[in-house]
């Protein structure tokens, strides 16, 4: 072993310093044993980053192992920068989701922008060309000024970055709930396409091959972001402001083009984004995957500021940087490609046979670790898991008896109030700021059940969507996580796609609290169950723990990013109604399980401010059958539109079919008189799962019934489209008809968020602050 001496000026390693680096005493002892000596400051920094939750998954790895990850469609499962799935015709899709919650809580605009940048790089480093972005967002109530600032800033950050790089943002979800007030969730997903043969992994290989830093120079920004992401948000986080990273989408666009060109050129063997924990994690992970040693000379890394220490260079999270392992002797060819794109490259190290991870500063070794398992040799934890009594009590609450408000005497009031709930209302205020049509692949953009993108040079298309109802997971973690997978599957199926595979982003609280770890382990179990039932393996994902603030943890929110495949673009199906006299059919039970009342519903939360009761039961086998039934109906040419029931139940689903496309409002006559003895609010707003509203020509009814029976699904004709009508009429027994004027429903649904945001000072502040200094 080489001598590694502390660098002059390094702070002394004290227990306080160790604690500041987020290492426990045991972890520190483990490090000392690994090295056979005390670490230097630089080494402590490296390990603190690599063993942070963000990089090491120390609390979740054993749980994640239980997820199904295999299937004939999977070309690359978890462990790489992104998962890759075969979609036929020699094409493959790479996709991944990632969180940027804490940076966005501190600086929403840059936090969200750099989140988009990071996930983009994860996808194009697999060799895929990004073709779509999605984002899954959670905020507190829009009544709160800081929340409006966060919402406005995050949306602008996502838009400005994606728009500039030229990748359409096509789908997502936005939920508003007090549980996320101080700790918003910002998850970004990217989807890319490539030929199967173009797949490249980030495995350092070939002794003597040069390691090259590409892209932006390294500055002092974001140092320790990975450990930052692994702590609770607190007042102290405010002191971390200098760690804010600034995104540069213009450089990202150049990096994207140059990287794809490099990958196709055959001059390189591996490429990886310098993401969380920057140079440290990218080089350590590449070495580990290739089971080789590496040596890095920090004095060769191009820096933005003078006097940066090895510690700073190694841990900087400056954006828009990549690490490349090139073939020896091809350095000039690599640099020629980069120069063409106005990017710089510097050889900073080498793949070596000796099994060590070594960092030098010129000739002086400043850090050295034996072996090549720096990341996986981290400690593993399986802390105590115990459900909180509070939640057991909440779930057992009988909510059927919640008295109606006086206003509810007018069922139109209730329906309008539901549609104007920011969680349900149209999100066009946000996605109108996102270019959703660039690259000309967007068959269905934001506003449908899922986004649909055609695959060029093929007759196929893919459908993508993110989903999760955190309230369900909070009240019943395993069932709620199953429901998240199933809702995402239903959404892609509504557009005509067969669910293929998922990626997931697990946003949870501090795992050291037993009630949080219980939620995490139950949720992962639920995801596994649903994915097995639906045959949608997990190809990757991201774990974001410590999403809490002094006021408590967020709802446990395992966001599912679903990929579906449409074999023939002719099967692409819209969500809204269009053709007069079409029959409206509900696939699935109108009330779900007898036990599925209003527990955990948006109705209770929105109208009564109650979060309680057992959320609707999610039966993944039933979901699979319902989806199979829907897809067979679609392929048979029987379905003119399809929209699933989710937040707000059947009532909201019907209204959305009628008014979601504001330029083409379409009425209907619905008759649910058969259930006249069930209270209307329960009929309309219960959120029973596995239900899809379809429209079809009357002549298809027989076929639909036959297909449904075959799949053990109950089809029910509940009404007819009335294209000329100006209202949605819902008949619920003799002399009881809710006549809802379409214009009023449309106003409730479409104006809710703009009315709040256009008038808000916080929104003006975001626009003003981004006025000149950003895109």
């Amino acid at each position: 072993m080489t001598m590694v001496a502390p660098r002059p000026g390094d702070p002394r390693i004290t227990s306080a310093l160790v604690a500041e680096h987020g290492l426990t005493d045991d972890e520190f002892q483990r490090l000392v044993r690994m090295l056979g000596r005390e670490p230097t400051f630089t080494e402590l920094g490296i390990i603190s980053a690599l063993w942070s939750e963000h990089c090491s998954y120390k609390h979740s790895r054993s749980l994640l192992k239980t997820l199904p990850t295999e299937g004939p469609q999977v070309l690359q499962g978890p462990g790489e920068n992104a998962g890759v799935v075969s979609v036929g015709d020699g094409l493959a899709v790479a996709f991944k989701i990632e969180s940027h919650n804490h940076p966005s809580a501190v600086e929403p605009y840059q936090g969200a922008a750099t989140g988009v940048g990071g996930i983009l790089r994860d996808v194009f480093t697999m060799g895929a060309r990004p073709i779509a972005m999605l984002n899954s967002l959670r905020f507190g109530s829009l009544d709160n000024a800081r929340v409006r600032y966060l919402f406005a800033g995050v949306v602008k950050g996502i838009g400005d970055y994606g728009n500039c790089v030229g990748i359409p943002t096509v789908a997502g979800e936005i939920v508003f709930d007090d549980a996320y007030e101080t700790n918003p969730l910002v998850n970004a997903m990217c989807v890319g396409v490539m030929k199967e043969s173009e797949l490249i992994t980030a495995k350092a290989e070939g002794i003597g091959n040069p390691i090259i830093a590409v892209g932006a120079r390294t500055g002092r920004d974001g140092i320790h972001g990975a450990s930052f992401a692994s702590e609770d948000l607190s007042e102290a986080s405010d002191a971390k402001r200098p760690r804010v990273q600034v995104g540069d989408p213009f450089t990202e666009k150049l990096l994207l083009e140059a990287s794809l060109e490099l990958i196709r050129s055959g001059h390189i063997v591996a490429i990886q984004d310098m993401g969380a924990a920057g140079l440290t994690s990218s080089s350590a992970e590449m070495a580990e995957r290739g089971e080789v040693g590496v040596t890095i000379d920090v004095s060769k890394v191009p820096v933005r500021e003078e006097g940066m220490t090895p510690y700073e260079i190694l841990l900087s999270e400056s954006q828009e940087r990549m690490l490349v392992v090139a073939k020896r002797g091809h350095e000039d060819a690599v640099s020629e490609i980069l120069t063409r794109w106005d990017l710089t490259a510097a050889v900073i190290g080498e793949v070596i046979a000796e099994p060590v991870y070594r960092v030098t500063e010129g000739d002086t070794v400043v850090a050295e670790f034996p072996g090549s398992r720096l990341v996986t040799d981290c400690p593993r934890y399986s802390p105590e898991a115990r459900e909180s009594d509070e939640i057991v009590r909440l779930r057992a609450t009988d909510v059927a008896g919640v008295p109606e408000l006086p206003e509810e005497k007018d069922p139109l009031w209730t329906l309008e109030r539901m549609l104007s709930s920011p969680t349900i209302a149209s999100k066009a205020w946000a996605y109108r700021q996102y270019d959703s049509t660039v690259r000309t692949n967007t068959v269905i953009g934001p506003g449908g059940d899922a986004a649909v993108l055609r695959l060029r040079a093929s007759n196929r298309a893919i459908a993508v969507k993110t989903d999760c109802n955190g309230r369900y997971v909070y009240l019943s973690p395993r069932n709620g996580a199953r429901a998240a997978v199933c809702e995402a599957a239903r959404n892609v199926a509504c557009t005509g796609a067969r669910p293929l595979a998922i990626t997931n982003c697990l946003n949870f609280g501090n795992p050291k609290r037993p009630e949080n770890f219980f939620q995490l382990s139950e949720a992962i179990a639920g995801i596994g169950e649903a994915c097995r039932a639906l045959d949608t393996p997990v190809t990757g994902g991201n774990v974001s723990l410590y999403n809490e603030s002094p006021s408590g943890a967020v709802y446990p929110t395992p966001v599912i990013g679903m990929l579906g495949l449409i074999d023939d673009v002719a099967h692409v199906t819209p969500a809204t109604w269009s053709v007069d006299d079409d029959v409206i059919v509900l696939l699935g039970e109108i009330l779900g399980e007898p036990a599925d009342g209003l527990g955990g519903s948006e109705y209770l939360a929105r109208i009564h401010g109650i979060v309680a009761g057992a959320p609707p039961k999610c039966d993944a086998d039933l979901e699979r059958d319902t989806i199979a039934c829907l897809l067979e109906c679609i392929r048979g040419g029987h379905v003119r539109s399809a929209h699933d029931c989710s937040d707000g139940g059947l009532g909201v689903a019907l209204a959305e079919c009628a008014v979601a496309d504001r330029s083409a409002l379409v009425g209907a006559e619905i008759n649910v008189s058969a259930w006249h003895d069930v209270p209307l609010r329960e009929l309309l707003y219960n959120e029973a799962q596995a239900r899809i509203v379809i429209t079809a020509p009357e002549s298809s009814l027989g076929e639909i019934a036959r297909i449904a029976v075959k799949h053990r699904v109950a089809p029910m004709m509940i009404g007819r489209v009335r294209a000329g009508s100006r209202s949605l009429e819902i008949k619920h027994g003799k002399n009881r008809t809710l006549v809802a004027p379409l214009e009023r429903l449309a106003a409730a649904y479409h104006d809710a968020i703009p009315a709040i945001m256009e008038a808000s000072i916080e929104s003006a502040a975001v626009l003003e602050q981004a006025a000149v200094t950003t895109v």
Partner: protein, 87 residues
Amino acid sequence: MKHRVYRIAVHIVPRAGLLDPQGDTITDALHSLGFKHVQSVHVGRHIVIETEAPDALQAETAVQEMCEKLLANPVTEDFEITSAVPV
């Protein structure tokens, strides 16, 4: 007391040390236009506010508060205020 109108300019600049991609890109552009001697460019906002106040000091105090509350991003920007000039 009689109020009068004061004009105050505010300069808001990206905080030192943060990446300034806009400034860097403009620097490169100036270099290729032949301005080889340019060492750095930073772009911020120049905001001119006209406000009524009893005196210059109070006008400046108000603008300081506007910067803190609305105009400058406290996480990424610094600002400076010029003296109030009666209009």
